[in-house]
């Protein structure tokens, strides 16, 4: 079956497009992209209203789907539903499940669940070490063959510099990045909040930004030593961004990502409006204004490669406890697009094209997965965005099984109209009402 999406603004930076184009989808592939394409016999024509924009499918390269083992928080099915509602056609999921995704069996299980759900594409990320214990390297070749696109011990950094070095060397065989959760465990200690005035006032144990940057410096140095590719996950501290800039300038194979909460919120949120709100507790923590502003600057000047959500669902019961007992993490899939429009594009900090680089082009490039562009012959993974849609965040209405977001009630400009994966419309926002 052929469908012709007609008359839309298309933002496709990988192909240098930002203008009015028609897109012809044939089955699960992009058949043709061009101006004023003619619909052949039997082709369904969908006119796209002028207030919507078609982009390559968005890819969130840092998501916790929690399955197997923590299905009360999220499943592959609920997580991928959350993803497509948020405009993501693909997600890469972290291996800290139970059991850990350190072998092909777990990888295949996740992929089977994803195939059953038929929503977003799922790219599993394997563990660097067996059980993420930081001792023995997992069978990375087997993980790669089973479908893993990267490896990480996320939740923790790779425990020793030696193992990090070996992983960076060994993954060169497969051209896979090593994704690092950068945190010096001894400096983090039992900290639960950014070390600074707010934590001091609230009596919360602090985690300095240097806990992150010191580990990032280690890993960037090892990337230089080995020629392996390191990707710094959920960067939060200005010192880490500096380390990445220095590494890039020296030619190290380093890329990095920032989560929306780290370029929007600060640790002030721990004190007000709701003091000790556990939905402001995540790791790395919300940091101070200088760090938040540095993240914005990095997004603007190109130092930041990717925006990823670190979608970390937790059950209400787990979060409805004392601050220091609550687990770290917030959901992110269903708020990311609106937050990026409202805080980055509409204020004029970045262009629409740059947003698509951050949310689609670069994640695809780093993970070496299809997508990131609207190219003839490529899978028809498309996101249709509604840049001016007024959105009021409603945690209760979210499709993720967990509702732990600090953005509940926020009013934002920018949203998702529809999500198309492999030519199939997997989500159409009823508020926009696009028949597609």
């Amino acid at each position: 079956m052929k469908r012709l999406l007609k008359g839309a603004r298309v933002v496709d930076p990988a192909n240098g497009r930002d203008g009015l184009y028609d897109i012809l989808i044939d089955g699960d592939r992009i058949a043709q992209v061009g101006a004023n394409l003619q619909a052949g016999e039997g082709t369904e024509v969908v006119s796209i209203p002028s207030n919507l924009v078609i982009t390559p499918g968005l890819i969130d390269m840092h998501v916790h789907l929690r399955e197997p083992g923590q299905e009360h928080k999220e499943t592959v099915a609920t997580g991928t539903l959350s993803a497509v509602v948020g405009g993501f056609t693909a997600v890469a999921c972290m291996p800290n499940t139970s059991p850990v995704n350190d072998n092909a069996g777990v990888t295949q299980y996740i992929l089977k669940k994803a195939a059953e759900a038929k929503l977003a594409r799922v790219y599993p990320i394997g563990a660097v070490s067996i059980g993420q214990k930081g001792e023995q390297m997992a069978e990375l070749g087997e993980l790669k063959d089973a479908g893993c696109v990267a490896v990480t011990d996320d939740g923790h950094p790779i425990r020793t510099a030696l193992l990090a070095r070996r992983a960076l060397e060994y993954t060169k065989l497969f051209d896979m990045p090593v994704i690092e959760h950068c945190e010096d465990p001894s400096l983090k200690g039992d900290g639960v909040a950014h070390e600074g005035l707010v934590a001091s006032k609230l009596g919360l144990r602090g985690i300095p930004g240097e806990a992150e940057s010191i580990m990032a410096q280690r890993d960037i140095a090892l990337a230089e030593l080995t020629g392996g590719r390191v990707h710094i996950a959920h960067m939060s501290a200005r010192q880490t961004l500096d380390a990445v800039r220095v590494g890039k300038a020296r030619g190290a194979n380093v890329t990095c990502e920032v989560a929306p909460h780290h370029f929007i919120l600060t640790d002030e949120m721990l004190a007000a409006p709701v003091p000790y709100d556990t939905n402001t507790k995540m790791n790395p923590p919300l940091r101070e204004t200088a760090d938040r502003d540095a993240m914005l600057q990095g997004i603007v000047d190109g130092s930041v490669d990717v925006i990823a959500t670190d979608h970390a669902p937790h059950h209400y019961d787990e979060k409805h406890v004392e601050f220091d007992r609550a687990p770290f993490g917030i959901t992110g899939l269903e708020t990311c697009v609106s937050l990026c429009f409202d805080r980055l594009v509409h204020p004029g900090l970045i262009t629409f094209s740059r947003l698509i680089e951050l949310l689609s082009v670069n994640p695809a490039r780093i993970l070496r997965v299809p997508g990131g562009s609207i190219t003839e012959g490529a899978p028809a993974d498309l996101t249709i965005l509604a840049p001016d849609l007024l959105v009021k965040v409603d945690a209760k209405a979210m499709k993720s099984r967990s509702k732990n977001t600090p953005f509940d009630g926020w009013e934002l400009r920018g949203g998702v109209a529809a999500t198309i994966v492999g030519g199939r419309t997997v989500y159409s926002n009823p508020v926009v009402g696009l028949s597609i």
Binding site: G189, E195, G196, L197, A199, S200, K201, L202, G203, L204, R205, G206, P208, V274, P275, Y276, D317, H320, V321, E322, F323, D324, R325
Partner: protein
């Protein structure tokens, strides 16, 4: 006052003065042969303690009894926590029995804020984690006032483990609100980041903090928190930061020495100082009852329930 007393942070200077004035009247009750007034008759106060405490719990209980409240002590470490019940559930169960006030001591900072959001009962913070211990700061201020009626302009030195001290945080907030000049001193490993932004002067050496001080307040070295290796040994700590006779002589001649207890003699304070003429440590304990009576009275008796914010 607000519905709850979660911290000094919530109180204005006027409200602090009102507690202190009320405490003066309450203190007088404690000096009568029959130390009981009917003010809180028919009110139920639950003392919900998640951390062991002798002084604070006893002080609250005596205060409640002197005001004729029905009191109930729950030491939770021994019961529900072991059965896996959450703080919120325990609180809602207590709440179902319609107490008027819940006095809470808990090891987690912010635990009282959590309870404040889910309970209609008035919550009084009797110490939450590293955050605040407001009635301690109020009784400290009351004690200072008895010796030096005007707190404005006084030099107050607070010395010890600043990082882990909720007494410090409440006292800094209160004393700066009333215009005292606060100097804090302790090993640099135990100084909370950014504390100077709260309007205090951080002195690396105890001598500088104590010099010409009107009040010296010592904080307990919490030995159970010393696994972190914040300083090499208790012996070295006493050498560098212990309040000795020689050091107290740097202060004003009429200095008073305070300690929230329990004291570690020979660690943060020399016995000669703790038991010396300038020590008001036992007055603090005595005043604790009067100040807590004032807080209970103002919260429960003073105003009727508003809807929980």
């Amino acid at each position: 006052m607000k519905k709850d007393l979660l911290g000094i942070d919530d109180l204005s200077a006027d409200e602090i003065y009102r507690v202190l004035e009320t405490a003066r009247a309450m203190r007088e009750i404690g000096e009568r042969p029959i130390k009981k007034v009917p003010t809180l008759r028919g009110k139920t106060v639950v003392n919900l303690f998640y951390e062991p405490s002798t002084r604070t719990r006893t002080s609250f209980e005596i205060a409640e009894k002197r005001l004729s409240a029905d009191t109930l002590n729950i030491a939770v470490a021994a019961s529900s926590v072991l059965k896996g019940e959450t703080l919120a559930d325990t609180a809602m169960n207590i709440e179902a029995m319609s107490p008027d006030m819940i006095v809470v001591r808990h090891a987690s900072s912010g635990a009282c804020h959590l309870l404040s959001r889910i309970c209609r009962s008035r919550i009084i913070n009797a110490g939450d984690g590293l955050h605040e211990h407001p009635t301690q700061a109020l009784l400290d201020a009351f004690t200072i006032q008895q010796h030096k009626p005007d707190l404005a302009g006084l030099k107050v030195a607070i010395v010890g483990d600043l990082l882990h001290s909720r007494v410090l945080r409440s006292n800094v907030l209160l004393l700066t609100k009333l215009g005292a000049r606060v100097f804090v001193s302790g090993p640099p490993t135990l100084v909370p980041r950014g504390i100077e932004q709260l309007g205090v002067t951080v002195s690396a050496r105890i001598e500088e903090a104590v010099q010409d001080a009107d009040v010296v307040m010592m904080l307990r070295i919490q030995q159970e928190r010393m696994q972190g290796g914040f300083f090499p040994s208790l012996r070295e700590y006493f050498t560098l930061f212990g309040l000795t006779e020689a050091r107290i002589r740097l202060a004003k001649p009429d200095v008073i020495v305070m300690h929230p207890g329990p004291m570690n003699r020979g660690v943060e304070i020399a016995s000669e100082v703790a038991d010396g003429p300038y020590s008001v440590i036992l007055e603090q304990v005595a005043n604790g009852v009067a100040v807590r009576m004032a807080v209970l009275y103002l919260l429960a008796g003073g105003v009727e329930h508003e809807t929980a914010a």
